[in-house]
Amino acid sequence: MPRSLRRPVGERVLADGTVRAPLDEGDVDDAAARFREAGVEAVAICFMHAYANPAHEAAVAERLAAALPGVYCSASSAVLPQVRFYDRVSTTVLNAAVGPILDRYLTNLTARLDEAGFVGIMLIMQSNGGVTTPGVAAKLAASTLLSGPAAAPVAGLAYSEPHGERSFITVDMGGTSFDAALVRDGAPELTTDARIAKHALALPSLEINTIGAGGGSIGWIDEGGLLRMGPASAGADPGPACYGRGGTLPTCSDANLVLGYLSPEFFAGGRMTLDRDAAAAAIERDIAQPLGLSLAEAAFGMFRVMNVNMASGIREITVQKGFDPRDFPLICAGGAGPIHAAMIAEELEIGRILVPRESSIFCAAGMLRSDLKHDYVRSYHTPFSAEGLDTGRFQSALRSMTDEANETLASEGIRPEARRFDYALDLRYLGQYHEVRVDVPEAELNGPDMDAVGGCLHRTHNRLYGYDLEADGTAIELVNLRLSATGITEKPPIAREARVDTKADCARKGVRPAFLPGAGDFRDVTVYDGDMLRYGHRIEGPAIIEQVNTTVLLPGGYILGCDELGSFVMEKA
C-alpha cells in the first residue's frame, strides 16, 4: 500500500477504551477527498485500541460510506477485535485489498448461476476449514485467503472414518508444493499467526505447513558439496527433464523415473510418455558426476533428500508443537505423494499410511463435506482468578459473540439444533507476552472452574515449551475469549464397497526393475493396476501400484490392503 494513501486521522483511544482525543472529522473528510481523487476502491480503517472501543472506527466507516459510495470499507474492530495493532492492521488491509475483488467475483458468479438455473446452494471455502455463504465471505474476504488446502483435514476425517481414527496427519504433494496439516481428536490445528507474502494474517486459519517440495523440485549441489532438493521447481513447464518440454534440470520426478517408481509409458494413464534417457542424463551431469556417485545412487539420494524435506515439513507441525508424529497415521494425497508416502512415514517412524483412491482430488472432496464455520474473538485483559475476573464483563463478551454467531448462522439458513459453539480462552502466566489457547466446555463458562482451566494451561505449556509453572503457583492472566461457531451441514454419502474373496493377483500388470530402499539395488518388482484392487485385497511389498493419476510405492516389509472406501492402507509387516 503506497504511503501517500495512508492518511492519519486525529483521535485517540487508550487501552482501557477511554477517549484521550476526540475524532477529528475534518481529517476524515480530507482523507475521503484524497481517496476520491486517487480512485481508491477500498479503505481499511485502523485506530489504536479500537478493539476496546470501536466508536471512532464505526463513525469513520459511516462517514466514508456516505462520502465514497460503492467503496469497500473495512474497520479493524469489525475484522479482528483483538489487541496487537500490527496484526490487526495487516489483517484489515489484506481484507480491504481482496474485498472488492471477491465481492465483484461473487456477485458475477451468483448472477451467472441464477441465469443458468442453478438451484443448489453455493458455499465458499474459508481458511479456517469451514465454508460460508457468499454474502458473509464478501464482508470478511480475508477469511478465504488460505482456503486452497484447507479442506484436506475434513477430507481426511471422511477417509479415516472406517478405521476409527480421529487424529492424523494429512499431506498433499503436487508438482511444486507440499501441504501438511495435523488433526487431533477430529479437529484440525488452528493458527492466528499465518502469513500472506510476508503480511500477517491473524484470522484463525488451519495450520497448514506449505513447503517448496513437489515432483518438479530441482536437485542441486551446494558449494560445500551437499545434495539439496528445491525449493526451486521446474513446475509443469518446462517441467522435469523427462517431460521433454524443454526442461534440462534434474527433478524429483526424474529421480523417481530413473529409480523405476514411475513408468515411462503409463504416466497420466498413458496420455504422456516420459523420457528416461533425458532424466538420466540430467541426473548424471548435475548430481552423480559432481558427487562421484553412480546414477542409481544419485537418483536414490535425491529421493531420500525429498523424503527428509517433506518429513521436516511434517515435523514442524508435530514435533515443534510438542506432538509425536508416531502417534498419528499419515493420510497421503496429491498426484506425487503416494510414491514418497511410505518413506516419509519411515523417516518419522509412523506405522500406518492411508492413500485415498482419488488422491489427486482429495481437497475438492473435502470441500463438499465441510461445515459452515465462523470464528469470533473479544479481548478482555484481566487476572484469571475469582477476585480479578469481572463475571459480568466476561459474560457480556461471551454473549455478544454468541449473538453475532447466531445471527450469521441464521442468515445462512442453519437451524438452531444444527449449530455448535466451541469456546476457548487465550491464557498466559502473569507477565508473559504470548498466550496459550485453552479449550473450555460451555458448561464452565457460567462460572469458569479456574483450577481445571489452569490445569489445561500448565499441561499445554509443558508440552510446547519444556516446562510449566504449576508448582510455582504463578498467577494466570486472561487475554482473549474466542468462539468458533459451526453450522452443521448434510454430507453426501461415500460409496462403500463390498468385501471380495478374490486375490490381488487379478490386478497384476507385470514386472519391472525398481531400486529398492532395503536392497540398495534394482530388483524386479511386481506392478499392480490400482483400479482393479478391491476391498479385501492384500499385497506384500515390494510392489508398485499404478493408477491413472497417481503411483504408490510399497517398499519391502510393508503390506498394502484396500479398505471399504477403496483407500489403500499401508502398514509395516
Binding site: 487508550l14 558449494e223 519444556g466 516446562y467 504463578t474
Partner: protein
C-alpha cells in the same frame, strides 16, 4: 571416526537440517514464554547446539551480534569442568572475562548424554532485563570497572544431576533487581530442554558412531564452502578505519578502530593491531563481542546459504591484541561493547569497499539507545525497564543496485530487531505513543539511496524515572557514511521535553536522573548512507518518494537535481535536465 564407517552424504544433509530446526524450536520456546520485551519482541537472544568439545553444530542467532557469543563460552565450560559434568546439570554464565560477550547476556548450557557419555550441549543466551551492578537494566555509562556493571557469574551449576541447587539460585537472584529475570532464566532452561530432547532423539536413532562421523563430515563440508567463498575474493591487504565518539568520561574523546583485512588464498585475517587503547569508561568490548561483530559483518558479504557451524570459523582469523578498546583487559567496564559493532562493521565495509565495491553497503545508522527505568503507577508501582527499541531504528546503507532498508535498526541486529507492537508497548509500560513515522529526508541520497530512518514521540507516565543513554550517532562524524559519491545519512537526535517547559538533550552516554512524570520523549533515528551519485538516480524514483512524503520538494531539487510538481508529483523533465547538467 571409525575406519569401517562409510560417510553417507545424504545423512550429513539430514543432520544439518535437523540441527537447524532444533535450534529454531529452542528459539520459539524463548519467543513464546519469556516476559521481558527485550527477549520476546526485540528477540535479543541466540540458541545453539555444540559438540562435546564445545564446537558449534548449529545456531540460530535471533540478533546477529550474538553470532559468536556462545561458542567461546562453551569451549571454556568444557575446559573448566572437565569430567565434572553429569546428565541433568545446567550451567549459567555471563562473565566477560571468561569469554562472555556482554554482562547482561546470560547463557544457560545443558550437557546432553547418550549411553552415559557426553555427546553434545544445548545452550541459549539472552539479554536479561537486569543482572545487578550499580544501575538497573544493565547499562551503566558511569562504570569504570566490571563490578559496577553486573554481578559476575563465571560458569556455575544451577542444577546438579537434575536437582536444583537452591543456594546457588538464591545467591544469583539476590543480586538481581527484577523477578522477571528468574522467570526468563526458567524459559531459557526450558529452551535447553527442548534442544536436549531433539539431539537425544538423533543419537538414539542413528547411534553415536554414525552421528560423530557425520558431524565431522558436516564441519568439513562447511569448511570447504567457506574456503571456496574466500578463495573467490581478490588477494590483498585492505584497510579501513572508523571512529567512536565520546567514552562517557572524557569530553571530546574519540576512539579509532584501525583494521587491516588480508585475503590470502582461502583464508582471511582481520587484524585490529593499532586500534586505540581501552577507555576508562564502559566504551570497551570484550574479545567475544568484537569477534561476533567481525563474523556478522563478513557473513553479510558472502553466500548466506553456508551453514553456521564450527567449519565456517576455521579459515577466519582475528588478530585483536589485548588492551585496546576492542579487547579490553580485566577488570574494564565493557557493557557498551556490543554497541561498538556498528563502528567495527563500518571499518570492515570501508576495507572491503576497495576489494569488492559491488558487495559492500554504505554505512548503516548507528543506534542511539535510551533505556527508561521507573515504576508503573498502574500496577502498584511495579518496577520496569524498557530499552526503547521502538524509537531507535534507523536505516541501512545502500548497495550497488539496491536502496538501503528502511527502519531496519542497528547493524548489530542486521534486520533481526522487530519494532514493538504499538498497543503492547502501551499495555506493557506506562507510555502513550504519540508518533512513529518515517523521517522525511533522512535517507542518505545516492544513485541508490540509504534506508529511511524514523521519528518517534511518546509521553512517559511512569514515576521515579531514570534514563540511561548509551548510544552513538549524535556527532557529525558518526553519520551513516555514503559511498562512491553517495551522501551521508543525518545525525540522530534525542530530546526530553519536561512538563515545566524545560528541554533536556542527553549526551550519547549519560545517566539522566530525576526525569519528571509526563515527560515528552522525542527521538529521530537517522537513515543509511547513499551509494553512487544521487544525480544518477532515476527521476521517477525520486518523484515517488516525494509523493509518499519521504523526500521534500526542496531536497529533491537540491540533493537529486529533480524538479517535482507539488500538485501532480510529476517530474518536470526540462527543469530537471537543466538542474542536473548545471550542477555537474
Amino acid at each position: 571416526m571409525t575406519d569401517t564407517l562409510t560417510i553417507d552424504p545424504v545423512l550429513v544433509s539430514v543432520l544439518q537440517r535437523r540441527f537447524k530446526s532444533i535450534t529454531e524450536e529452542m528459539g520459539l520456546t524463548l519467543l513464546r514464554t519469556t516476559r521481558s520485551p527485550i527477549l520476546n519482541e526485540a528477540r535479543d537472544f541466540v540458541t545453539g547446539l555444540y559438540d562435546a568439545k564445545g564446537r558449534m553444530l548449529e545456531q540460530t542467532e535471533y540478533i546477529p551480534v550474538l553470532a559468536f557469543a556462545l561458542q567461546p563460552v562453551c569451549e571454556y565450560i568444557v575446559e573448566y569442568f572437565g569430567d565434572d559434568i553429569a546428565e541433568g546439570d545446567t550451567i549459567i554464565h555471563n562473565d566477560v572475562f571468561t569469554r562472555g560477550n556482554q554482562n547482561a547476556d546470560v547463557a544457560i548450557f545443558k550437557p546432553i548424554f547418550h549411553d552415559g557419555r557426553l555427546v553434545a550441549w544445548s545452550a541459549c543466551k539472552g539479554h536479561q532485563a537486569d543482572i545487578g551492578g550499580a544501575v538497573a537494566g544493565g547499562y551503566n555509562p558511569e562504570a569504570s570497572e566490571v563490578w559496577q556493571e553486573a554481578f559476575r557469574i563465571p560458569p556455575v551449576k544451577l542444577h546438579e544431576g537434575g536437582k536444583l541447587r537452591r543456594d546457588v539460585w538464591d545467591l544469583i537472584f539476590a543480586n538481581v533487581r527484577y523477578e522477571v529475570v528468574q522467570e526468563d532464566i526458567k524459559a531459557q532452561i526450558g529452551g535447553c530442554v527442548v534442544g536436549e530432547r531433539g539431539v537425544k532423539g538423533l543419537f538414539e536413532r542413528y547411534g553415536a558412531d554414525t552421528m560423530l562421523a557425520h558431524i565431522d563430515e558436516l564441519f568439513q563440508s562447511t569448511e570447504r564452502m567457506i574456503r571456496k567463498e574466500i578463495a573467490g575474493l581478490p588477494d590483498g591487504t585492505y584497510t579501513g578505519e572508523s571512529t567512536v565518539y565520546y567514552d562517557g568520561v572524557r569530553d571530546g574523546s574519540e576512539m579509532t578502530i584501525r583494521l587491516a583485512v588480508t585475503v590470502e588464498g582461502d583464508e582471511v585475517t582481520f587484524d585490529f593491531t593499532g586500534t586505540d587503547p581501552q577507555t576508562p569508561g564502559f566504551v570497551n568490548a570484550p574479545f567475544s563481542s568484537t569477534a561476533s561483530a567481525v563474523m556478522l559483518t563478513f557473513l553479510m558479504l558472502i553466500n548466506p546459504d553456508i551453514p553456521h557451524n564450527d567449519g565456517i570459523v576455521r579459515p577466519i582469523n582475528i588478530v585483536n591484541p589485548e588492551g585496546s578498546f576492542l579487547n579490553a583487559a580485566y577488570p574494564a567496564a565493557t557493557t557498551f561493547g556490543n554497541s561498538i559493532c556498528g563502528p567495527t562493521s563500518d571499518a570492515i565495509f570501508r576495507a572491503f569497499a576497495q576489494a569488492l565495491p559491488g558487495m559492500v553497503s554504505a554505512g548503516w545508522n548507528r543506534s542511539m539507545n535510551f533505556a527508561i527505568v521507573g515504576k508503573d503507577p498502574r500496577h502498584g508501582m511495579r518496577p520496569y525497564v524498557d530499552i526503547l527499541f521502538l524509537a531507535l531504528k534507523g536505516g541501512s546503507g545502500a548497495t550497488e543496485g539496491a536502496d538501503g532498508y528502511d527502519h531496519i535498526g542497528l547493524i548489530n541486529c542486521a534486520g533481526g530487531l522487530l519494532a514493538q507492537d504499538y498497543e503492547m508497548f502501551e499495555i506493557q509500560d506506562p507510555h502513550v505513543l504519540l508518533m512513529h513515522e518515517y523521517w522525511t529526508d533522512s535517507a542518505g541520497p545516492g544513485h541508490w539511496r540509504g534506508g529511511y530512518g524514523t521519528e518517534c514521540a511518546f509521553e512517559i507516565d511512569g514515576e521515579e524515572l531514570t534514563g540511561i543513554a548509551f548510544g552513538d550517532g549524535l556527532e557529525e562524524g558518526a553519520r551513516a557514511f555514503g559511498l562512491f559519491g553517495g551522501a551521508d545519512g543525518p545525525r540522530n537526535t534525542l530530546t526530553l521535553n519536561y512538563p515545566d517547559g524545560q528541554e533536556r538533550v542527553p549526551r550519547a552516554k549519560e545517566v539522566v536522573r530525576n526525569i519528571p512524570t509526563g515527560v515528552l520523549y522525542r527521538q529521530q533515528a537517522g537513515g543509511g548512507g547513499g551509494y553512487g551519485d544521487p544525480f544518477d538516480r532515476p527521476a521517477a524514483l525520486v518523484a515517488d518518494d516525494v509523493r509518499n512524503e519521504l523526500v521534500s520538494i526542496a531536497r529533491a531539487a537540491e540533493d537529486y537535481g529533480v524538479v517535482v510538481d507539488p500538485a501532480s508529483f510529476a517530474v518536470d523533465e526540462a527543469a530537471t535536465d537543466k538542474l542536473r547538467s548545471a550542477k555537474r
